[in-house]
Amino acid sequence: MSRTIVDILARLADSSDHGIVEYDRRGRAGEMRSHAEIHRRARAAAAAFAASGVEPGHVVFLQLPNGHDLVECFLGAVVAGALPCCLAPPRALGGLEAYQQRIAHLASAFPASHLIAEEDTGSRSGHQYTQPPDRGDGAPLADLPEVAPESIAFLQLTSGTSRTPKAVRISHAALCANVRGILDGGRGVDHEAYVSWLPLYHDMGLVGMLFCALESRSTMHLFRPETFVARPLNWLKTIASTGAPTITTVPNFALQHCVNAVTADKLEGLDFSRWRVSGCGAERVRESTLREFAERFGPFGFRSEAFVPCYGMAEATLAITFDRKDAPPREVDGHVSCGRAVPGTEIVIRSVEGEPVPEGVEGEITARGPGLCSGYTGDVVESPIRDGWLHTGDRGFVRDGELFVTGRFKDLIIIDGHNIDPDEVEAIGDRVVRTPGGRCGSFSVDRDGREHVVLVVEVPTGGDNDRFTEWADAIGSEFASLFGFRIRDLVFVKRGDLPTTSSGKVRRAQLRTQYEAGELDVLARHES
Protein backbone atom coordinates (compact mmCIF):
# COMPACT_ATOMS: atom_id res chain seq x y z
CA MET A 1 0.00 0.00 0.00
CA SER A 2 1.24 3.45 -0.91
CA ARG A 3 1.91 5.88 1.93
CA THR A 4 2.65 8.93 -0.19
CA ILE A 5 1.90 10.19 -3.68
CA VAL A 6 5.54 9.54 -4.45
CA ASP A 7 4.95 5.85 -3.61
CA ILE A 8 1.95 5.82 -5.95
CA LEU A 9 4.10 7.33 -8.67
CA ALA A 10 6.96 4.91 -8.05
CA ARG A 11 4.64 1.93 -8.56
CA LEU A 12 3.58 3.25 -11.95
CA ALA A 13 7.08 2.73 -13.36
CA ASP A 14 6.45 -0.87 -14.37
CA SER A 15 2.81 -0.54 -15.45
CA SER A 16 3.03 -0.42 -19.22
CA ASP A 17 -0.26 -2.08 -20.22
CA HIS A 18 -2.48 0.45 -18.49
CA GLY A 19 -2.50 4.21 -18.40
CA ILE A 20 -4.54 7.26 -19.27
CA VAL A 21 -6.48 7.95 -22.45
CA GLU A 22 -7.03 11.67 -22.99
CA TYR A 23 -10.13 12.83 -24.88
CA ASP A 24 -10.13 16.19 -26.61
CA ARG A 25 -12.96 18.69 -26.40
CA ARG A 26 -14.87 17.00 -29.17
CA GLY A 27 -14.60 13.65 -27.42
CA ARG A 28 -11.95 12.16 -29.71
CA ALA A 29 -9.69 9.66 -27.94
CA GLY A 30 -5.92 9.99 -28.11
CA GLU A 31 -3.53 7.04 -27.82
CA MET A 32 -3.29 5.56 -24.35
CA ARG A 33 -0.26 6.90 -22.49
CA SER A 34 1.09 4.16 -20.21
CA HIS A 35 1.60 4.60 -16.49
CA ALA A 36 5.30 4.00 -17.06
CA GLU A 37 5.42 6.93 -19.47
CA ILE A 38 3.39 9.08 -17.08
CA HIS A 39 5.91 8.21 -14.36
CA ARG A 40 8.79 9.36 -16.56
CA ARG A 41 7.05 12.52 -17.67
CA ALA A 42 6.08 13.50 -14.12
CA ARG A 43 9.75 13.29 -13.15
CA ALA A 44 10.65 15.36 -16.20
CA ALA A 45 8.10 17.97 -15.13
CA ALA A 46 9.60 17.96 -11.63
CA ALA A 47 13.10 18.58 -13.01
CA ALA A 48 11.82 21.41 -15.21
CA PHE A 49 9.93 22.99 -12.31
CA ALA A 50 13.00 22.89 -10.08
CA ALA A 51 15.09 24.44 -12.86
CA SER A 52 12.58 27.25 -13.27
CA GLY A 53 12.60 28.28 -9.61
CA VAL A 54 9.88 26.14 -8.04
CA GLU A 55 11.09 25.38 -4.52
CA PRO A 56 9.81 22.96 -1.90
CA GLY A 57 6.77 24.47 -0.19
CA HIS A 58 5.86 26.74 -3.10
CA VAL A 59 2.34 26.50 -4.45
CA VAL A 60 1.96 25.49 -8.09
CA PHE A 61 -1.41 26.60 -9.49
CA LEU A 62 -2.45 24.48 -12.41
CA GLN A 63 -4.77 26.32 -14.76
CA LEU A 64 -5.07 23.44 -17.21
CA PRO A 65 -7.91 21.39 -18.69
CA ASN A 66 -8.34 17.69 -17.91
CA GLY A 67 -5.54 15.90 -19.72
CA HIS A 68 -1.98 14.62 -19.65
CA ASP A 69 -0.44 18.05 -19.01
CA LEU A 70 -2.51 18.53 -15.88
CA VAL A 71 -1.90 15.02 -14.49
CA GLU A 72 1.84 15.10 -15.11
CA CYS A 73 2.33 18.66 -13.86
CA PHE A 74 0.39 17.78 -10.70
CA LEU A 75 2.57 14.74 -10.02
CA GLY A 76 5.70 16.64 -11.06
CA ALA A 77 4.95 19.42 -8.60
CA VAL A 78 4.65 16.84 -5.81
CA VAL A 79 8.00 15.31 -6.78
CA ALA A 80 9.51 18.80 -6.71
CA GLY A 81 8.25 19.16 -3.13
CA ALA A 82 5.78 21.87 -4.10
CA LEU A 83 2.05 21.96 -3.41
CA PRO A 84 -0.02 21.58 -6.57
CA CYS A 85 -3.46 23.17 -6.64
CA CYS A 86 -5.81 22.74 -9.60
CA LEU A 87 -7.84 25.75 -10.71
CA ALA A 88 -11.21 25.96 -12.41
CA PRO A 89 -11.04 27.37 -15.94
CA PRO A 90 -12.14 30.89 -16.79
CA ARG A 91 -15.88 30.69 -17.04
CA ALA A 92 -17.25 31.06 -20.54
CA LEU A 93 -19.58 33.94 -21.46
CA GLY A 94 -18.33 36.91 -19.56
CA GLY A 95 -16.05 35.27 -17.01
CA LEU A 96 -12.78 36.93 -18.01
CA GLU A 97 -12.86 39.63 -15.37
CA ALA A 98 -13.82 37.21 -12.61
CA TYR A 99 -10.97 34.94 -13.75
CA GLN A 100 -8.39 37.74 -13.57
CA GLN A 101 -9.65 38.76 -10.13
CA ARG A 102 -9.44 35.20 -8.91
CA ILE A 103 -5.85 34.84 -10.10
CA ALA A 104 -4.98 38.16 -8.43
CA HIS A 105 -6.54 37.07 -5.13
CA LEU A 106 -4.69 33.75 -5.25
CA ALA A 107 -1.39 35.44 -6.04
CA SER A 108 -1.74 37.79 -3.10
CA ALA A 109 -2.86 35.03 -0.73
CA PHE A 110 0.03 32.79 -1.85
CA PRO A 111 3.04 35.00 -2.60
CA ALA A 112 5.33 32.00 -3.09
CA SER A 113 3.42 30.53 -5.98
CA HIS A 114 3.65 29.81 -9.69
CA LEU A 115 0.97 29.72 -12.34
CA ILE A 116 1.11 27.01 -14.99
CA ALA A 117 -1.26 27.61 -17.89
CA GLU A 118 -1.59 27.24 -21.62
CA GLU A 119 -0.74 30.32 -23.63
CA ASP A 120 -4.28 31.55 -24.22
CA THR A 121 -5.42 31.40 -20.59
CA GLY A 122 -2.01 32.34 -19.17
CA SER A 123 -1.52 35.43 -21.32
CA ARG A 124 -4.93 36.83 -20.28
CA SER A 125 -4.54 36.00 -16.60
CA GLY A 126 -3.01 39.36 -15.81
CA HIS A 127 -0.25 37.43 -14.04
CA GLN A 128 3.10 35.84 -14.81
CA TYR A 129 2.72 32.27 -15.97
CA THR A 130 4.65 29.47 -17.58
CA GLN A 131 3.43 26.82 -19.97
CA PRO A 132 3.54 23.13 -19.04
CA PRO A 133 7.21 22.15 -19.40
CA ASP A 134 8.54 19.96 -22.18
CA ARG A 135 8.64 16.36 -20.97
CA GLY A 136 9.61 14.57 -24.17
CA ASP A 137 12.23 11.85 -24.55
CA GLY A 138 15.61 12.94 -23.31
CA ALA A 139 14.28 15.57 -20.90
CA PRO A 140 16.20 15.49 -17.60
CA LEU A 141 14.45 13.52 -14.85
CA ALA A 142 14.22 14.40 -11.15
CA ASP A 143 14.89 11.63 -8.64
CA LEU A 144 11.96 10.54 -6.51
CA PRO A 145 12.38 12.14 -3.08
CA GLU A 146 11.78 10.65 0.35
CA VAL A 147 8.61 12.24 1.61
CA ALA A 148 7.13 12.14 5.11
CA PRO A 149 3.55 10.78 4.93
CA GLU A 150 2.28 13.45 7.31
CA SER A 151 3.61 16.30 5.16
CA ILE A 152 1.17 18.29 3.03
CA ALA A 153 0.83 16.95 -0.52
CA PHE A 154 -1.51 19.38 -2.22
CA LEU A 155 -4.11 22.11 -1.77
CA GLN A 156 -7.76 21.83 -2.67
CA LEU A 157 -9.76 25.03 -3.14
CA THR A 158 -13.26 24.72 -1.73
CA SER A 159 -14.90 27.78 -3.18
CA GLY A 160 -13.48 29.06 -6.38
CA THR A 161 -14.42 32.72 -6.51
CA SER A 162 -13.67 34.03 -3.06
CA ARG A 163 -11.65 37.13 -2.27
CA THR A 164 -10.04 35.20 0.53
CA PRO A 165 -9.50 31.83 -1.11
CA LYS A 166 -10.23 28.91 1.16
CA ALA A 167 -7.81 26.08 0.49
CA VAL A 168 -7.86 22.74 2.27
CA ARG A 169 -4.47 21.20 3.06
CA ILE A 170 -4.31 17.49 2.29
CA SER A 171 -1.41 15.36 3.54
CA HIS A 172 0.09 12.40 1.70
CA ALA A 173 -1.18 10.14 4.49
CA ALA A 174 -4.74 11.46 4.26
CA LEU A 175 -4.84 11.09 0.48
CA CYS A 176 -3.47 7.54 0.61
CA ALA A 177 -5.76 6.52 3.48
CA ASN A 178 -8.84 7.83 1.72
CA VAL A 179 -7.90 6.26 -1.62
CA ARG A 180 -7.21 2.93 0.10
CA GLY A 181 -10.50 3.18 1.99
CA ILE A 182 -12.41 3.83 -1.22
CA LEU A 183 -10.71 0.94 -3.03
CA ASP A 184 -11.05 -1.56 -0.18
CA GLY A 185 -14.58 -0.55 0.76
CA GLY A 186 -15.63 -0.59 -2.86
CA ARG A 187 -13.90 -3.93 -3.57
CA GLY A 188 -11.71 -2.17 -6.10
CA VAL A 189 -8.95 -4.31 -7.55
CA ASP A 190 -6.06 -3.62 -9.87
CA HIS A 191 -6.55 -3.02 -13.59
CA GLU A 192 -10.15 -1.93 -13.73
CA ALA A 193 -11.34 0.97 -15.91
CA TYR A 194 -12.25 4.49 -14.78
CA VAL A 195 -14.24 6.65 -17.14
CA SER A 196 -14.41 10.22 -15.90
CA TRP A 197 -15.21 13.71 -17.07
CA LEU A 198 -15.13 15.24 -13.59
CA PRO A 199 -12.81 18.22 -13.45
CA LEU A 200 -9.59 17.47 -11.57
CA TYR A 201 -9.99 20.73 -9.64
CA HIS A 202 -12.90 18.98 -7.90
CA ASP A 203 -12.04 16.54 -5.08
CA MET A 204 -14.25 13.83 -6.56
CA GLY A 205 -12.40 13.98 -9.88
CA LEU A 206 -8.93 14.24 -8.37
CA VAL A 207 -9.17 11.76 -5.50
CA GLY A 208 -12.14 9.54 -6.36
CA MET A 209 -11.21 9.08 -9.99
CA LEU A 210 -7.59 9.98 -10.80
CA PHE A 211 -5.84 8.81 -7.64
CA CYS A 212 -7.99 5.70 -7.25
CA ALA A 213 -7.15 4.82 -10.87
CA LEU A 214 -3.42 5.45 -10.34
CA GLU A 215 -3.24 3.53 -7.06
CA SER A 216 -5.02 0.53 -8.60
CA ARG A 217 -3.08 0.97 -11.84
CA SER A 218 -6.31 1.00 -13.74
CA THR A 219 -6.75 2.59 -17.13
CA MET A 220 -8.45 5.96 -16.95
CA HIS A 221 -10.48 7.49 -19.76
CA LEU A 222 -10.22 11.20 -19.03
CA PHE A 223 -12.83 13.43 -20.64
CA ARG A 224 -13.42 17.14 -20.28
CA PRO A 225 -16.57 18.26 -18.47
CA GLU A 226 -17.88 20.25 -21.44
CA THR A 227 -17.64 17.20 -23.67
CA PHE A 228 -19.82 15.22 -21.32
CA VAL A 229 -22.36 17.98 -20.98
CA ALA A 230 -22.69 18.49 -24.71
CA ARG A 231 -22.44 14.82 -25.67
CA PRO A 232 -23.20 12.49 -22.77
CA LEU A 233 -23.50 9.63 -25.23
CA ASN A 234 -19.71 9.66 -25.86
CA TRP A 235 -19.08 9.05 -22.18
CA LEU A 236 -21.72 6.30 -22.05
CA LYS A 237 -20.33 4.59 -25.14
CA THR A 238 -16.86 4.59 -23.62
CA ILE A 239 -18.22 3.02 -20.42
CA ALA A 240 -19.83 0.28 -22.50
CA SER A 241 -16.63 -0.51 -24.36
CA THR A 242 -13.74 -0.52 -21.86
CA GLY A 243 -13.67 -4.32 -21.77
CA ALA A 244 -13.06 -4.21 -18.01
CA PRO A 245 -15.12 -3.70 -14.86
CA THR A 246 -15.83 0.00 -15.03
CA ILE A 247 -16.07 2.69 -12.39
CA THR A 248 -17.59 6.14 -12.67
CA THR A 249 -18.59 8.76 -10.13
CA VAL A 250 -20.64 11.85 -10.93
CA PRO A 251 -22.96 14.34 -9.23
CA ASN A 252 -26.68 13.65 -9.35
CA PHE A 253 -27.30 16.25 -12.06
CA ALA A 254 -25.15 14.27 -14.49
CA LEU A 255 -27.21 11.09 -14.14
CA GLN A 256 -30.33 13.19 -14.66
CA HIS A 257 -28.70 14.79 -17.71
CA CYS A 258 -28.14 11.31 -19.20
CA VAL A 259 -31.80 10.44 -18.65
CA ASN A 260 -32.99 13.71 -20.17
CA ALA A 261 -30.61 13.80 -23.11
CA VAL A 262 -30.06 10.20 -24.18
CA THR A 263 -33.09 8.39 -25.53
CA ALA A 264 -33.32 4.60 -25.64
CA ASP A 265 -32.93 4.45 -29.43
CA LYS A 266 -29.41 5.92 -29.08
CA LEU A 267 -28.42 3.06 -26.80
CA GLU A 268 -29.06 0.18 -29.22
CA GLY A 269 -26.15 -2.22 -29.16
CA LEU A 270 -24.55 -0.80 -25.98
CA ASP A 271 -23.89 -3.15 -23.07
CA PHE A 272 -23.56 -1.72 -19.58
CA SER A 273 -23.28 -5.05 -17.79
CA ARG A 274 -19.63 -4.37 -16.86
CA TRP A 275 -20.48 -0.99 -15.27
CA ARG A 276 -19.46 -2.14 -11.80
CA VAL A 277 -19.66 1.11 -9.83
CA SER A 278 -21.81 4.10 -10.73
CA GLY A 279 -20.96 6.47 -7.89
CA CYS A 280 -23.15 9.45 -7.17
CA GLY A 281 -22.14 12.27 -4.82
CA ALA A 282 -21.06 15.92 -4.37
CA GLU A 283 -24.69 17.02 -4.11
CA ARG A 284 -27.95 15.55 -2.88
CA VAL A 285 -28.65 12.10 -4.33
CA ARG A 286 -32.25 12.01 -5.55
CA GLU A 287 -34.22 8.79 -5.51
CA SER A 288 -36.20 9.87 -8.59
CA THR A 289 -32.99 10.29 -10.59
CA LEU A 290 -31.69 6.83 -9.68
CA ARG A 291 -35.04 5.27 -10.56
CA GLU A 292 -35.32 7.02 -13.92
CA PHE A 293 -31.72 6.21 -14.74
CA ALA A 294 -32.21 2.53 -13.94
CA GLU A 295 -35.37 2.43 -16.07
CA ARG A 296 -33.60 3.94 -19.07
CA PHE A 297 -30.31 2.05 -18.86
CA GLY A 298 -31.50 -1.22 -17.24
CA PRO A 299 -32.64 -2.71 -20.58
CA PHE A 300 -29.05 -2.24 -21.78
CA GLY A 301 -27.43 -4.20 -18.99
CA PHE A 302 -27.13 -1.53 -16.29
CA ARG A 303 -27.59 -3.04 -12.81
CA SER A 304 -29.15 -0.97 -10.02
CA GLU A 305 -26.68 -2.65 -7.66
CA ALA A 306 -23.99 -0.59 -9.40
CA PHE A 307 -25.34 2.63 -7.88
CA VAL A 308 -23.07 3.81 -5.11
CA PRO A 309 -24.45 6.93 -3.48
CA CYS A 310 -21.66 8.59 -1.53
CA TYR A 311 -21.09 11.40 0.88
CA GLY A 312 -17.95 13.38 1.47
CA MET A 313 -16.15 16.68 1.15
CA ALA A 314 -12.72 18.12 0.49
CA GLU A 315 -12.18 18.55 4.24
CA ALA A 316 -12.17 14.74 4.47
CA THR A 317 -9.95 14.49 1.36
CA LEU A 318 -13.04 13.11 -0.34
CA ALA A 319 -15.11 10.17 0.89
CA ILE A 320 -16.75 9.87 4.31
CA THR A 321 -19.39 7.24 3.58
CA PHE A 322 -20.54 5.30 0.55
CA ASP A 323 -22.91 2.49 -0.22
CA ARG A 324 -20.97 -0.75 0.04
CA LYS A 325 -23.50 -3.50 -0.39
CA ASP A 326 -24.16 -5.24 -3.66
CA ALA A 327 -27.81 -4.24 -3.69
CA PRO A 328 -29.78 -1.22 -4.89
CA PRO A 329 -29.49 1.74 -2.47
CA ARG A 330 -32.01 1.93 0.36
CA GLU A 331 -34.41 4.80 0.75
CA VAL A 332 -36.06 6.11 3.90
CA ASP A 333 -38.62 8.94 3.82
CA GLY A 334 -37.39 10.11 0.44
CA HIS A 335 -33.73 10.16 1.51
CA VAL A 336 -31.29 7.89 -0.30
CA SER A 337 -28.83 6.01 1.90
CA CYS A 338 -25.25 7.18 1.50
CA GLY A 339 -24.01 3.91 2.97
CA ARG A 340 -21.48 3.17 5.65
CA ALA A 341 -18.33 4.95 6.73
CA VAL A 342 -15.21 4.39 4.66
CA PRO A 343 -13.12 1.64 6.31
CA GLY A 344 -11.05 3.24 9.07
CA THR A 345 -13.46 6.18 9.42
CA GLU A 346 -16.13 6.67 12.08
CA ILE A 347 -19.22 8.83 11.87
CA VAL A 348 -21.20 10.16 14.82
CA ILE A 349 -24.38 12.24 14.64
CA ARG A 350 -24.39 14.99 17.26
CA SER A 351 -26.90 17.32 18.81
CA VAL A 352 -26.47 21.08 18.72
CA GLU A 353 -24.69 20.73 22.07
CA GLY A 354 -22.20 18.34 20.47
CA GLU A 355 -23.47 15.19 22.20
CA PRO A 356 -23.97 11.96 20.21
CA VAL A 357 -27.66 11.31 19.51
CA PRO A 358 -29.41 7.91 19.33
CA GLU A 359 -29.79 6.05 16.04
CA GLY A 360 -32.51 7.49 13.81
CA VAL A 361 -32.30 10.97 15.36
CA GLU A 362 -31.19 13.87 13.16
CA GLY A 363 -28.16 15.93 14.02
CA GLU A 364 -24.87 17.22 12.68
CA ILE A 365 -22.76 14.66 10.86
CA THR A 366 -19.27 14.46 12.37
CA ALA A 367 -16.47 12.18 11.21
CA ARG A 368 -13.10 10.99 12.42
CA GLY A 369 -10.46 9.02 10.58
CA PRO A 370 -7.13 9.03 8.76
CA GLY A 371 -8.51 10.84 5.70
CA LEU A 372 -9.25 14.14 7.40
CA CYS A 373 -7.56 17.24 6.05
CA SER A 374 -4.93 19.21 7.93
CA GLY A 375 -7.10 22.32 8.14
CA TYR A 376 -7.18 25.33 5.84
CA THR A 377 -4.30 27.48 4.66
CA GLY A 378 -3.73 30.77 6.42
CA ASP A 379 -5.56 31.71 9.58
CA VAL A 380 -8.62 33.33 8.02
CA VAL A 381 -10.91 30.40 8.58
CA GLU A 382 -11.38 28.34 11.70
CA SER A 383 -10.46 24.68 11.33
CA PRO A 384 -13.51 22.46 10.87
CA ILE A 385 -11.78 19.78 12.97
CA ARG A 386 -12.30 20.00 16.74
CA ASP A 387 -10.95 17.37 19.13
CA GLY A 388 -10.17 15.14 16.19
CA TRP A 389 -13.70 15.28 14.74
CA LEU A 390 -14.61 16.93 11.46
CA HIS A 391 -17.79 18.95 11.93
CA THR A 392 -19.30 18.75 8.48
CA GLY A 393 -22.08 21.30 8.92
CA ASP A 394 -24.39 18.79 7.23
CA ARG A 395 -27.50 17.34 8.81
CA GLY A 396 -28.39 13.66 8.77
CA PHE A 397 -29.26 10.52 10.69
CA VAL A 398 -27.96 6.98 10.88
CA ARG A 399 -30.15 3.92 10.53
CA ASP A 400 -28.77 0.36 10.63
CA GLY A 401 -25.30 1.82 10.33
CA GLU A 402 -26.14 3.69 7.12
CA LEU A 403 -26.01 7.46 6.76
CA PHE A 404 -28.94 9.45 5.41
CA VAL A 405 -28.12 13.07 4.62
CA THR A 406 -31.15 15.28 5.10
CA GLY A 407 -29.92 18.84 4.81
CA ARG A 408 -27.40 21.39 6.04
CA PHE A 409 -26.78 23.36 9.18
CA LYS A 410 -24.11 25.34 7.41
CA ASP A 411 -25.25 27.94 4.94
CA LEU A 412 -23.83 26.58 1.75
CA ILE A 413 -25.36 26.56 -1.70
CA ILE A 414 -24.49 23.71 -4.06
CA ILE A 415 -25.29 24.09 -7.75
CA ASP A 416 -24.41 21.21 -10.07
CA GLY A 417 -21.87 19.88 -7.60
CA HIS A 418 -20.12 23.23 -7.10
CA ASN A 419 -20.10 25.01 -3.76
CA ILE A 420 -21.20 28.62 -3.49
CA ASP A 421 -20.64 30.56 -0.31
CA PRO A 422 -23.72 32.69 0.47
CA ASP A 423 -21.37 35.37 1.89
CA GLU A 424 -20.18 36.02 -1.65
CA VAL A 425 -23.71 36.36 -2.98
CA GLU A 426 -24.64 38.72 -0.15
CA ALA A 427 -21.51 40.79 -0.73
CA ILE A 428 -22.81 41.63 -4.21
CA GLY A 429 -26.06 42.96 -2.74
CA ASP A 430 -24.10 45.00 -0.19
CA ARG A 431 -21.82 46.50 -2.81
CA VAL A 432 -24.63 47.49 -5.15
CA VAL A 433 -27.29 48.76 -2.78
CA ARG A 434 -25.13 50.15 0.04
CA THR A 435 -27.98 50.64 2.49
CA PRO A 436 -26.49 52.07 5.69
CA GLY A 437 -27.05 49.39 8.30
CA GLY A 438 -28.83 47.26 5.69
CA ARG A 439 -28.27 43.53 5.34
CA CYS A 440 -28.57 40.86 2.70
CA GLY A 441 -29.50 37.21 3.07
CA SER A 442 -28.86 34.46 0.54
CA PHE A 443 -29.88 30.82 0.56
CA SER A 444 -30.98 28.15 -1.87
CA VAL A 445 -34.39 26.68 -2.57
CA ASP A 446 -35.25 23.39 -4.26
CA ARG A 447 -37.18 23.74 -7.51
CA ASP A 448 -37.53 21.18 -10.31
CA GLY A 449 -35.05 18.84 -8.66
CA ARG A 450 -32.23 21.41 -8.44
CA GLU A 451 -31.02 24.05 -6.04
CA HIS A 452 -31.59 27.68 -6.98
CA VAL A 453 -30.19 30.89 -5.48
CA VAL A 454 -32.38 33.43 -3.73
CA LEU A 455 -31.05 36.80 -2.52
CA VAL A 456 -33.01 39.04 -0.17
CA VAL A 457 -31.75 42.64 0.10
CA GLU A 458 -32.72 45.27 2.63
CA VAL A 459 -33.16 48.73 1.12
CA PRO A 460 -33.79 52.17 2.63
CA THR A 461 -37.47 52.99 2.78
CA GLY A 462 -38.85 54.96 -0.12
CA GLY A 463 -37.02 53.12 -2.93
CA ASP A 464 -38.96 53.77 -6.13
CA ASN A 465 -39.43 51.34 -8.99
CA ASP A 466 -36.67 52.83 -11.08
CA ARG A 467 -34.19 52.32 -8.28
CA PHE A 468 -35.29 48.70 -7.85
CA THR A 469 -34.84 48.03 -11.55
CA GLU A 470 -31.42 49.67 -11.49
CA TRP A 471 -30.32 47.69 -8.45
CA ALA A 472 -31.70 44.44 -9.80
CA ASP A 473 -29.84 44.97 -13.04
CA ALA A 474 -26.54 45.76 -11.33
CA ILE A 475 -26.82 42.84 -8.90
CA GLY A 476 -27.89 40.49 -11.67
CA SER A 477 -25.00 41.53 -13.83
CA GLU A 478 -22.38 41.16 -11.10
CA PHE A 479 -23.81 37.82 -10.05
CA ALA A 480 -23.85 36.56 -13.64
CA SER A 481 -20.25 37.55 -14.22
CA LEU A 482 -19.09 35.91 -10.99
CA PHE A 483 -21.08 32.67 -11.11
CA GLY A 484 -22.28 32.27 -14.68
CA PHE A 485 -25.97 31.81 -14.14
CA ARG A 486 -28.93 33.83 -12.91
CA ILE A 487 -30.31 34.47 -9.47
CA ARG A 488 -33.64 32.69 -9.29
CA ASP A 489 -35.31 35.30 -7.17
CA LEU A 490 -34.06 38.70 -6.04
CA VAL A 491 -36.25 40.19 -3.32
CA PHE A 492 -36.14 43.70 -1.86
CA VAL A 493 -37.43 44.28 1.67
CA LYS A 494 -37.35 47.16 4.16
CA ARG A 495 -34.27 47.78 6.25
CA GLY A 496 -34.54 45.82 9.49
CA ASP A 497 -36.84 43.12 8.07
CA LEU A 498 -34.29 40.30 7.96
CA PRO A 499 -34.19 38.00 10.99
CA THR A 500 -30.85 38.35 12.78
CA THR A 501 -28.99 36.97 15.74
CA SER A 502 -28.33 39.19 18.73
CA SER A 503 -24.94 40.01 17.22
CA GLY A 504 -26.56 41.15 14.00
CA LYS A 505 -25.82 38.14 11.77
CA VAL A 506 -28.56 37.22 9.34
CA ARG A 507 -30.37 33.99 10.26
CA ARG A 508 -30.44 32.44 6.81
CA ALA A 509 -32.36 29.31 7.73
CA GLN A 510 -35.12 31.34 9.34
CA LEU A 511 -35.14 33.71 6.38
CA ARG A 512 -35.58 30.75 4.03
CA THR A 513 -38.53 29.51 6.09
CA GLN A 514 -40.16 32.95 5.97
CA TYR A 515 -39.52 33.13 2.24
CA GLU A 516 -40.98 29.70 1.53
CA ALA A 517 -44.03 30.52 3.67
CA GLY A 518 -44.58 33.79 1.80
CA GLU A 519 -44.16 35.77 5.00
CA LEU A 520 -41.72 38.39 3.71
CA ASP A 521 -43.03 41.90 3.22
CA VAL A 522 -41.79 42.27 -0.35
CA LEU A 523 -41.20 45.79 -1.73
CA ALA A 524 -40.12 44.55 -5.14
CA ARG A 525 -38.85 41.34 -6.66
CA HIS A 526 -37.13 40.14 -9.81
CA GLU A 527 -37.72 36.50 -10.58
CA SER A 528 -36.21 34.57 -13.46
Partner: protein, 93 residues
Amino acid sequence: MSWLATNRDPLAHAMTKPEDEALRILSEVCRVPLDKLTPEARLVQDLGIDSVMTLDLLIELEEALDIEIPEIEAAQMETVAQVTDYVRSRATA
Protein backbone atom coordinates in the same frame (compact mmCIF):
# COMPACT_ATOMS: atom_id res chain seq x y z
CA MET B 1 -29.65 18.23 -25.13
CA SER B 2 -30.15 15.65 -27.82
CA TRP B 3 -32.92 17.65 -29.43
CA LEU B 4 -30.15 19.70 -30.93
CA ALA B 5 -28.27 16.86 -32.42
CA THR B 6 -27.73 16.16 -36.09
CA ASN B 7 -30.26 16.27 -38.92
CA ARG B 8 -28.64 19.42 -40.16
CA ASP B 9 -28.65 19.69 -43.88
CA PRO B 10 -25.00 20.21 -44.86
CA LEU B 11 -25.99 22.08 -48.01
CA ALA B 12 -28.22 24.47 -46.09
CA HIS B 13 -25.33 25.07 -43.74
CA ALA B 14 -23.01 25.92 -46.59
CA MET B 15 -25.34 28.64 -47.76
CA THR B 16 -26.03 30.14 -44.35
CA LYS B 17 -23.96 33.01 -43.02
CA PRO B 18 -22.04 31.97 -39.92
CA GLU B 19 -23.64 34.66 -37.77
CA ASP B 20 -27.11 33.46 -38.78
CA GLU B 21 -26.15 29.91 -37.94
CA ALA B 22 -24.85 31.15 -34.58
CA LEU B 23 -28.16 32.90 -33.89
CA ARG B 24 -30.11 29.78 -34.78
CA ILE B 25 -27.99 27.71 -32.39
CA LEU B 26 -28.29 30.33 -29.65
CA SER B 27 -32.04 30.32 -30.08
CA GLU B 28 -32.17 26.54 -29.78
CA VAL B 29 -29.83 26.28 -26.83
CA CYS B 30 -31.52 29.07 -24.84
CA ARG B 31 -34.97 28.15 -26.08
CA VAL B 32 -35.53 31.81 -26.88
CA PRO B 33 -37.22 32.90 -30.14
CA LEU B 34 -34.91 34.44 -32.74
CA ASP B 35 -36.59 37.86 -32.53
CA LYS B 36 -35.60 38.12 -28.86
CA LEU B 37 -31.93 37.73 -29.73
CA THR B 38 -31.12 41.41 -30.07
CA PRO B 39 -27.43 42.21 -30.48
CA GLU B 40 -27.20 43.81 -27.03
CA ALA B 41 -29.00 40.97 -25.18
CA ARG B 42 -26.77 39.64 -22.43
CA LEU B 43 -26.31 35.89 -22.55
CA VAL B 44 -26.45 35.00 -18.87
CA GLN B 45 -28.48 37.78 -17.39
CA ASP B 46 -31.07 38.36 -20.11
CA LEU B 47 -31.22 35.00 -21.86
CA GLY B 48 -30.71 32.89 -18.75
CA ILE B 49 -27.88 30.72 -20.08
CA ASP B 50 -26.44 28.57 -17.28
CA SER B 51 -23.20 26.61 -17.16
CA VAL B 52 -24.68 23.53 -18.78
CA MET B 53 -26.21 25.51 -21.64
CA THR B 54 -22.95 27.43 -22.07
CA LEU B 55 -20.95 24.28 -22.68
CA ASP B 56 -23.62 23.02 -25.02
CA LEU B 57 -23.64 26.28 -26.94
CA LEU B 58 -19.88 26.31 -27.45
CA ILE B 59 -19.70 22.74 -28.69
CA GLU B 60 -22.67 23.30 -31.03
CA LEU B 61 -21.03 26.40 -32.47
CA GLU B 62 -17.70 24.66 -32.90
CA GLU B 63 -19.19 21.70 -34.68
CA ALA B 64 -21.66 23.57 -36.87
CA LEU B 65 -19.13 26.16 -38.01
CA ASP B 66 -16.05 23.96 -37.85
CA ILE B 67 -14.11 26.37 -35.66
CA GLU B 68 -12.43 26.07 -32.28
CA ILE B 69 -13.42 28.57 -29.62
CA PRO B 70 -10.67 28.73 -26.98
CA GLU B 71 -11.89 29.05 -23.39
CA ILE B 72 -10.40 32.44 -23.02
CA GLU B 73 -12.23 33.78 -26.09
CA ALA B 74 -15.51 32.39 -24.78
CA ALA B 75 -14.82 34.06 -21.45
CA GLN B 76 -14.99 37.43 -23.19
CA MET B 77 -18.41 36.93 -24.77
CA GLU B 78 -21.16 38.59 -22.80
CA THR B 79 -23.70 39.62 -25.44
CA VAL B 80 -25.31 38.14 -28.52
CA ALA B 81 -23.36 40.59 -30.69
CA GLN B 82 -20.06 39.41 -29.24
CA VAL B 83 -20.90 35.85 -30.22
CA THR B 84 -21.93 36.72 -33.76
CA ASP B 85 -18.95 39.04 -34.23
CA TYR B 86 -16.62 36.33 -33.05
CA VAL B 87 -17.94 33.62 -35.34
CA ARG B 88 -17.97 36.03 -38.28
CA SER B 89 -14.33 36.93 -37.69
CA ARG B 90 -13.34 33.30 -37.30
CA ALA B 91 -15.30 32.01 -40.27
CA THR B 92 -13.80 34.61 -42.61
CA ALA B 93 -10.30 34.42 -41.14
